[in-house]
Each structure stands twice: as C-alpha cells, then as structure tokens.
C-alpha cells in the first residue's frame, strides 16, 4: 500500500468517529427501551396472574428466538410497506430495543427470583402494599444482582448496533464500507480501526459497570458469577 492509500484512511477517521456517535445514540435508545420494557416484562412474568404471565413469556421467547437482522427488516420495511413513515434510526431503536427487553427481562426475572419470596413476605408484614414492596424492597436488591449479567447484555447490544447499517443507518460500519468502496486495499485496516473502537468501548463500558457495581455493593448481597452470552 502506498502512503496515498493510508491517507484515505486517516482522512476517513473523523467520519468514522461521527458514525460511532450514531451507534452510541442507538445504543442509548435501545438500552433505555430494553431496560424499562424488560423490567415490566419481568414483573409480569413473576407477579402477574397466569394468562398474562404466559403472554410475557411468549413475548420473551419470540424476541429471543428471532435474529436481530430479521427483526430490523420486519420493523423497518414491514412498517414502511404499510406507509408508516418511520426512519431507519427509530426502526433500529425499536427493533433492537424490543429484542434487548426480552434478554433484559430474563436477567431481571432471574434476579427477582434470587431475591426470594421471604423478602416480599417481610415487606408485606410491615404493612407495605405489593407495589411498595416491589418498588422499595425487591427491585433495589434485584437491580444490584442484575449488574454482572447486564454488562454482558450491554457489550452484546453495543456490537449489534452495527447491524443497523443493513436498514440504512449511516453509522460507523456503513461509513467503513464507504471507505472500502473507494479503495479495497483499505478495507482491512479500516475494519481493524472500527474493531478497535468497539474493543475500547466494550472495555470502557465494562469498567463503568464494574465501578457501578462496586459503588452500590452491599455486603451479603452478591451476584453469583455469570459469564454467558445472552
């Protein structure tokens, strides 16, 4: 490769970084959607009457069993087909957010069950309502227990934001493909740069979540190790 080739990459870096910003925006949106929807789904699964809980379990099964790519297509092109004016960005947040809510609900459900029914009984016995018990006793413990598995989900969805390029979001991977389109010899170094971006973000995120876990750690309430890819 000539020096001129490399310049194509160096000059492309600001654009790649701009693209990475879009990945982060999608990440923020989908994590937030997945977090709140995930808690609701988990609470329904654990505490709601059986038919409703079954629906929530079906929801989780669907979004865990269908590939992200198919979900993205289904939401974006599916809605467009019925003339819903949805942008690729919003479609990406919805599709990946719903998928993540299924995985997060699994994490929260496990944590709620790990907190155990004795805590619920103790809360009810001091006169709390069920809602108060969930809000002030169960969730504060369950959320702490959720941090380690949740950081797995975080690094998983962080990387999955690159899939949104397939429905036309001009994020970092799409921009790397533009650079590749101009000069094939640059493909490998460009993708390597993108890979390193993600490696750095993954470590940054895990470090931050580790700090969060230590900050809110309570003696006697520790999550048992989980290293699975959710």
């Amino acid at each position: 490769m000539t020096a001129g080739d490399w310049r194509g990459l160096v000059e492309g870096i600001p654009s790649l970084l701009g693209g990475l910003g879009i990945n982060l925006q999608i990440l923020l949106g989908l994590i937030a959607l997945g977090f709140f929807a995930g808690i609701v789904v988990a609470l329904i699964q654990v505490y709601a009457p059986r038919p409703l809980a079954a629906v929530a379990i079906g929801y989780e099964w669907f979004f865990r069993g269908v590939p992200e790519m198919v979900l993205l297509m289904l939401v974006y092109f599916g809605l467009r087909q019925f003339h819903v004016p949805i942008s690729p960005f919003i479609a990406a947040v919805i599709a990946l957010g719903l998928r993540s809510s299924a995985y997060q609900s699994q994490i929260f459900r496990g944590a709620i069950q790990a907190v155990g029914s004795n805590q619920m009984m103790a809360a009810l016995s001091v006169g709390m309502t069920r809602f108060q018990a969930i809000r002030h006793v169960i969730l504060p413990q369950a959320l702490r227990l959720s941090i380690p598995p949740w950081s797995n989900e975080f690094s998983s969805v962080l990387k999955d934001t690159t899939l949104t390029s397939a429905i036309g979001v001009i994020e970092v991977f799409k921009r790397a493909r533009f650079i590749m389109g101009r000069n094939y010899a640059l493909a490998l170094p460009t993708f390597m740069v993108v890979a390193l971006f993600f490696l750095a973000l993954t470590y940054l995120g895990n470090w931050g979540l580790g700090a969060l876990e230590r900050r809110y750690r309570i003696p006697g309430l520790e999550a048992k190790g989980a290293g699975e890819r959710f």
């Binding site: 790519m69 297509m73 092109f77 899939l163 094939y184």
Partner: protein, 222 residues
C-alpha cells in the same frame, strides 16, 4: 391492510434454510474444536501461548461479528487473499464462536473440583488421561446449557451472511420480499421459521442434557 402470501415462496425459503443449518453446523463445530484448545491454552499454558490465546479471546469477544466477517471476506481479499462467501462465512463465524466457547469451556473446566484431579493422579493416571477421562466428561456436562445458548446465538447470527452474498434463509427472504414488495409477510414467515428452529434445537439439547445427566453433577440452568 391486506396480507399476501404465496406458497411458492416456501420451497425457496427451504433451500435457504438448508444453507443456514449447514453454516451453523460448520461454524459451531469449528468453534468447538478451536474453543476447547483455546480454553486449555488459557488454563494450562504459560508465556506466549497463554497471551496469544487470551488476546484472541478478548479481540473476538470485544468486536462486532459483522466487522469480523467483512475483515475476512473483503479485508483479506483487498490484500490478495480471497475466499468464496461460504468459506469466509464459516471462517469468520467459526473464529468468533470459538472465542465464546473457549470461555464456557474454561469456566466448566475450572468448575471441576481440584480433588478430582488429585484422585486421578493418585491412581497413576497421566495428565492427558486425567483430562480425557475425568475432567472433560464432567466439564462437558457442565457446559451444555451455556453451549446450547451459544448454538442458538450462532444460528441467529448466521443471518448476517447475506451481506456477503450468501443465499441463506435471511438472504432468500430478502430477495423474495424485495421482488414482491411484501416485506412484512415474508419477514414474518422467516422469523417464524427461525423461531421454530430455535425451539427444536433448545428442546433437542435439553433431551441430550437429561440423557447424560448424572446425579450430583447438576448443570445450573437459568
């Protein structure tokens, strides 16, 4: 709002499905062999072999699979090393899942109690015999739930290979959807096929798990 579905789409999707299954099987087996070697290297090796194995695992787990796929298929081609899309797909996905599987294997091997090794050695077994007859039979049972998750994960993730031109289930679906302008219907059917496949794999592996289950060697399932 009117829904359209043509039965003639199904055989085409079926051919894509076959490719999806083949691709999954190929990359998951490649990943299992490589992953086991990586796990053993991370557990028992020292020096450069340990560092290389660790760097490998961190890189492939910390970067997007899509980027890895394009590095193998287009990146290497740009530097004169080119593979067919199928080979690229198997290599990239196999290398990726190897890193994840290595961590599951490592965790399971570590979960086998130290006394088991001591007992095996005290009988006069060699290191290799100890790993082969005592550690692995236990570790593989412990790893199965995590491993089934990984299999499902890879099955779903093969759907990105249409981006390098492979007519897998997703790819065939995309072609049908865009030629007929019936995105919702086609992708919904594709989603259901993936879902069915996931259910079959999950329950199949649970049967295997139940079959090889040994009292006192419970794999923790979520």
């Amino acid at each position: 709002m009117e829904l359209v579905f043509k039965w003639e789409w199904l055989p085409q999707l079926g051919r894509g499905l076959v490719l999806t299954v083949e691709l999954t099987a190929a990359c998951i087996s490649m990943g299992a062999v490589l992953g086991l070697l990586l796990a053993i290297a991370r557990l028992y090796a020292r020096g450069p072999i340990y560092w290389l194995a660790s760097a490998y695992v961190h890189f492939f787990r910390g970067t997007p699979l899509l980027v890895q796929l394009f590095m193998v298929h287009f990146g290497l081609a740009g530097w004169g090393i080119s593979f067919t899309p199928l080979v690229s797909g198997i290599i990239a996905m196999g290398l990726n899942t190897a890193a994840y599987q290595a961590e599951y294997f490592r965790g399971a091997i570590q979960a086998v109690k130290r006394g088991q090794t001591m007992a095996a050695l005290s009988l006069g077994m060699t290191w290799w015999q100890t790993i082969r007859y005592v550690i692995l039979p236990q570790a593989l049972r412990l790893v199965l739930p995590a491993w089934s998750n990984e299999l499902v994960y890879m099955l779903k993730y093969t759907s990105i290979v249409y981006l390098i031109g492979l007519p897998d289930l997703m790819g065939v679906g995309r072609t049908i959807a865009s030629t007929n302008f019936r995105f919702f219907e086609v992708y919904a059917v594709v989603a259901l096929i993936y879902l069915a496949l996931v259910l079959i794999i999950t329950f199949g592996l649970r049967l295997v798990e139940a079959r090889i289950k040994v009292p006192g060697l419970g794999a923790v399932r979520q």
